[in-house]
C-alpha cells in the first residue's frame, strides 16, 4: 500500500484520516489507487472549466438558452463530466446581480469550479451575505447600483448554482478562449463582476 508522503509530525485529525483510510483500504471499501485517482481528478477541477462554459454562453446564444434552462444537460452536451451535480445557472444582467452562498454548509459547483475558497465557507460570509449582500459585495470591491436587483441564492438543497456574469462591453471580437481568461471564479460566485480587459 503506498501513501503519499506526510508531514513528520501528525496531529490528531491527520492521524485519524490516515488510520481511517488505511482501515477502509484493508477492508476493501476502496483502494489506495482509488484515492490517488480521486485526488488527481479533484486537482483537474478548476474554475477554468466554468470559465469556458461562460465564454461559450456569451458567444453561442443557443447554448446559453439551453444552459439557463438546464445547466447540467447543457454542460454534458459539451462533453463535461457533471457527476451527480444538478446545476442551475443564473444570469446576471443590467437589472439583476446574482450572488451565491450556502449558509448551512459549503455546497458549491465543484465539477465546474473545484473546491470552494476559504472565504465562501467562512462564518462571516455565510452569516452576512444573505442579510447585507451589498455590504459584503462592497468588501470585494463590487457595488451594483441601487436600481439593480441584488439576488442572493442560498444553496440549501440539491441544486448547485453558477452565476453567468454579465459580459463586459468592449469585448466584441474577442475569441472564446480570450473571453474565458477574463472570467474569474469570484465572478461565477457573484462577488465580483467580469472586468473588461
Amino acid at each position: 500500500m503506498t501513501m503519499r508522503s506526510e508531514d513528520s509530525v501528525l496531529d490528531h485529525y491527520q492521524a485519524m484520516e490516515l488510520a481511517v483510510s488505511a482501515l477502509l483500504i484493508d477492508k476493501g471499501y476502496f483502494s489506495a489507487a482509488d484515492m490517488e485517482a480521486e485526488i488527481d481528478a479533484m486537482a483537474k477541477r478548476t474554475p477554468d472549466i466554468g470559465a469556458a462554459v461562460v465564454a461559450q454562453a456569451w458567444t453561442d446564444s443557443d447554448f446559453k438558452a439551453r444552459l439557463l434552462a438546464d445547466g447540467t444537460a447543457a454542460c454534458e452536451s459539451i462533453g463535461l463530466d457533471m457527476g451527480p451535480t444538478r446545476l442551475v445557472v443564473v444570469e446576471s444582467t443590467e437589472t439583476v446581480h446574482n450572488v451565491i452562498v450556502c449558509t448551512l454548509c459549503s455546497c458549491f459547483p465543484r465539477m465546474l469550479m473545484g473546491i470552494p475558497p476559504d472565504w465562501y465557507k467562512s462564518v462571516n460570509y455565510r452569516s452576512r451575505v444573505v442579510r447585507e449582500p451589498r455590504m459584503v459585495l462592497k468588501e470585494f470591491g463590487t457595488e451594483p447600483s441601487a436600481d439593480v436587483e441584488v439576488r442572493v441564492h442560498d444553496n440549501t438543497a440539491d441544486m448547485r448554482y453558477l452565476v453567468l456574469p454579465k459580459r463586459p462591453a468592449s469585448t466584441d471580437g474577442m475569441s472564446r478562449e480570450e473571453l474565458a481568461k477574463l472570467v474569474t471564479r469570484d465572478s461565477m460566485i457573484g462577488v465580483k463582476i467580469v472586468e473588461a480587459p
Binding site: L18, V20, P84, C105, F140
Partner: protein, 111 residues
C-alpha cells in the same frame, strides 16, 4: 428568546465580521479528506450519504464547530459515521492511529 431553536451551523443572518478573503494552500491531508468523502458518498459505493456526513458535523455542537477547522469537522464526521455503522470499531481505529503516529514519528526521527 431570540434564536431559540437555531442550530450553530444554521448561521444565515447572524451578526459577523468582515470577510477574510485570504485563502490557504491545502495540505495533503485535507485533499485526502475531500477524496475520502467523495469516495464514501459516491453513487458507486454509498457507504455514507452526504446528508449523514452533514448531520455528523452539525451534531459536533457549537463549541466544537467553532474550534475545529473545516477539514477537522469533516474527518470527525466521517469517522463518527463509520463507527455508528459498525464499519470500523474504536478498538481498531485506536490501534491504527497509534501505528500511523509511530510510523510518522520514526520517519521524522530519520529525516
Amino acid at each position: 428568546m431570540a434564536n431559540a431553536g437555531r442550530m450553530h451551523h444554521d448561521m444565515g443572518g447572524r451578526d459577523a465580521g468582515p470577510v477574510d478573503r485570504g485563502g490557504h494552500s491545502h495540505p495533503e491531508w485535507e485533499k485526502r479528506v475531500d477524496a475520502l468523502m467523495m469516495l464514501l458518498s459516491n453513487s458507486k459505493r454509498r457507504v455514507i450519504g452526504v446528508d449523514e456526513l452533514r448531520r455528523g458535523i452539525e451534531e459536533l455542537g457549537a463549541e466544537n464547530y467553532s474550534k475545529m477547522t473545516y477539514y477537522e469537522r469533516w474527518v470527525s464526521s466521517i469517522t463518527h459515521n463509520l463507527l455508528e455503522k459498525g464499519i470500523i470499531s474504536s478498538d481498531e481505529l485506536g490501534r491504527k492511529m497509534a501505528e500511523v503516529e509511530d510510523t510518522a514519528r520514526a520517519a521524522g526521527d530519520r529525516g
